[in-house]
Amino acid sequence: MAPQKLVVIGTGMASGRLLEHLFEIAPGAYEVTLFNAEPRGCYNRIMLSPVLSGEKSFQEIVTHDEAWYEDHGVTCRFGERVTAVDRDRKVVVGEKGEVAYDKLVIATGSAPFIIPVPGKDLKGVVAYRDLEDTNAMIEAAGNPGSRAVVIGGGLLGLEAAAGLRLRGMEVTVLHLMGHLMERQLDASAGHLLKQDLERRGIEVMLQASTQEITGTGKVEAVKLADGTELKADIVVMAVGIRPETTVAKAAGLEVGRGMVVNAQMESVSDPDIYGLGECVEFDGAVFGLVAPLYDQAKVLAKTLAGEADAFTVRQLSTKLKVTGCDLFSAGDFNDGEGRQDIVFRDPARGVYKRLVIENDRLIGAVFYGDTADSNWFFGLIQTGEDISANRDTLIFGPAYQGGASVDPLAAVAALPDEAEICGCNGVCKGQIVTAIENGASDLAAVRAVTKASGSCGTCTGLVEQVLAVTLGDEFSMPAEQPMCGCTDLTHEDVRRLIKGQELKSMPAVWQAGAWKTPDGCHSCRPALNFYLLADWPVEYKDDPQSRFINERKHANIQKDGTFSVMPRMWGGITTPDELRAIADAADKYKVPTVKVTGGQRIDLLGIKGEDLPAIWADLNAAGMVSGHAYSKGLRTVKTCVGTDHCRFGTQDSTGLGIKLEKALWGSWTPHKVKLAVSGCPRNCAEATCKDVGVICVDSGYQIGVGGAAGMDLKETERLADAKTEEEAIELAIAFIQLYRENARYLDRPYKWLGKVGLPWVKARVVDDLAERRRLVDAFLLSQTIYQKDPWAEHVREQAERYAPIADITLEAAE
């Protein structure tokens, strides 16, 4: 039989593989013409990254050379783009002329997605797809001191960033999402990856939205939506790919996301045309990794040879080709009903492993830092075998399967005396044992004597195990409650950990604290958010999604889902103008209830969520700001009329109250904080049951702390007496800052005081003047960031979030 004419459009990884198979199983059956828009034959595209980083040369990644094409009689039309296919005449139209076909393969791969921002066409803006892009990057890196901005923190973007960094460029990666490689990694692994990249000197900016690329003639800078501007000599856009379907579409073939093919790789519109590689869509899926394309190539070779075979989509795994960043992900790792997570973290080694199990089968896995066993796990995912028998030890990998179970106590008992237990303080097992033998019989005592577990706290479990091994039955594990089901650590442990290890993000805490869930729960997340912002006001970015609704929407949710709105009324003082504005707002938004609160201000209750930004804007216009009546933060400073009007008043209690409120408002605290200032011991402002209460006397100010009048009733205790207003304010601030730094989330000051004791607090706030200064300065620093009116901010920046994203009630049909 005379050979048939086969034309292949696209010389990529898929079609290269196809021709190898075809010539092997049906030699001489086809006379092949091969088109390629790139001016070269087939090369291993995925190895462009080592070429970029300088670890390989281009020659090393060429897969088929001229001799190979010649040996197999392939007519190469490289550097020639195909512009049309005439299916009636069965010819392919190239830039330099036509070729007739009996069978046609479209293997045009993908086109990089270019985000439609101004400046995208400037010189110096490149994608990352082919040798030309790679060479452009290598050239840019050749200029000393040059800077690169990589848009996109996925597989390609990060490989580009790492390569450019290895070539000595200053590199910033901009990623729109909350963590890197979000399609392949969960937040924890994404965090470790970010850390590793930062250690290499690559700057990573998350939730960074590119607004514009600027420059005259060539790229000079990238502007973000938040106003940040980054200098750039080259911009690499690696935000995603789209199947390249221009030819398929022009030929009139059915194209969805990709060119639609059946399991024989045949176009569903024309039995003489086949699709192959990233340009196709099969069973609703499109492809972006080579493994499935190689399967397709095998199937298509058989189809062309007249043999039966069918393509099926199989599980994929991903690895990042950046030397030193070991990550692996496979399968489905979203959590969900009936699915169980097994999470393993080794904070010291930076290792994170997560398995997702459903119906006793492994269905997904994410590993970071240690991927040695990933192939074994990938095998389990692919075979879908029942893993219930060794579920408990599964995460430890193949080495542990079928062996004896590991007893942690036996392991600790076996440790030599020199084994280091507490890394922070350099305490070894022998020292702890000696301390225990000398009478330290619990964790607190061991900590006091040896300092073990006193810094970051990660070794707390180990120290307890040493106690258990040494004391035997005399030791009972302390019944300290962990923060929540996500971790074994207590609130106190976590606060120590955040300070000791300088943890500045939530994924960092999850990792270091060996969290058992991927991203915490409604109980630990608000606490962590507070701890992080209190300890790292500058570095940590507040996470509204980890806040309870009231603090996220800056209003108090009511039982029917409406909200209450309460503007600040400094020290309980108002004006006719403010009252008119409140009355106007109440009319305009049809507020069902207007109430004078126990906190000396006015509450507007029953407001619809969508109306919040509008009513805030009105109140803002009248000079009022949020009263934070919803926050774990400063609420009110109640005052009495004091010397201004009262015949008994000794000091300006109203004035001091207003000054305190102006200094403290906007700050976040472990629980709410309320103050009051009374002008004399008659105490009309009820200052003796507040978190901080000031009683004015002739000689100055008596500062009381730790009062309660809610679920518990308790009188304040005297912290100090102050001579001046300034000193009174300083003492109040220092006390509140100490509370912010040390208390556990949701402990009011009186509860916290019950744990640490008033003398401990006095020693720091009253007696140690340097410490008082430090506390005040730390508070003021935090206020530079957090003392702002959230209402105005939301009206300005996110009013649309308060509205429904869509409304189909109005257009609804009968």
Binding site: H179, E182, R183, C521, P526, Q545, I557, T809
Partner: protein, 113 residues
Amino acid sequence: MTNIEWLDLGLLSDIPFRGARKVKTPQGCVAVFRTADDAVFAVSDSCPHKAGPLSEGIVHGNKVTCPLHNWVFSLETGEAQGADDGQIPTYPTRVEDDRVFLDVTLLRRRDVA
């Protein structure tokens, strides 16, 4: 055969991370959630306990905690977790080219009980 009607809700980034937005429908509000893994789920916005607005809850994993009394629901099945008993309706969603689509076939109709 019934037709499916997909409503284009806009960009994925219009929904906050670990958060939700509401869609008003003749059947009541639907909450469209986006998780940390960028999975999107749509469920009824009304908690079966005392009608708390679930779109305002804290999202963790593929679950949401009701803001009023802390019932926790699976966003995938709609089932209440733990000791609580209840189920919220779920609706199909799709994400394509970073746009979010909601199947509103059943939600358009006023008459469904």
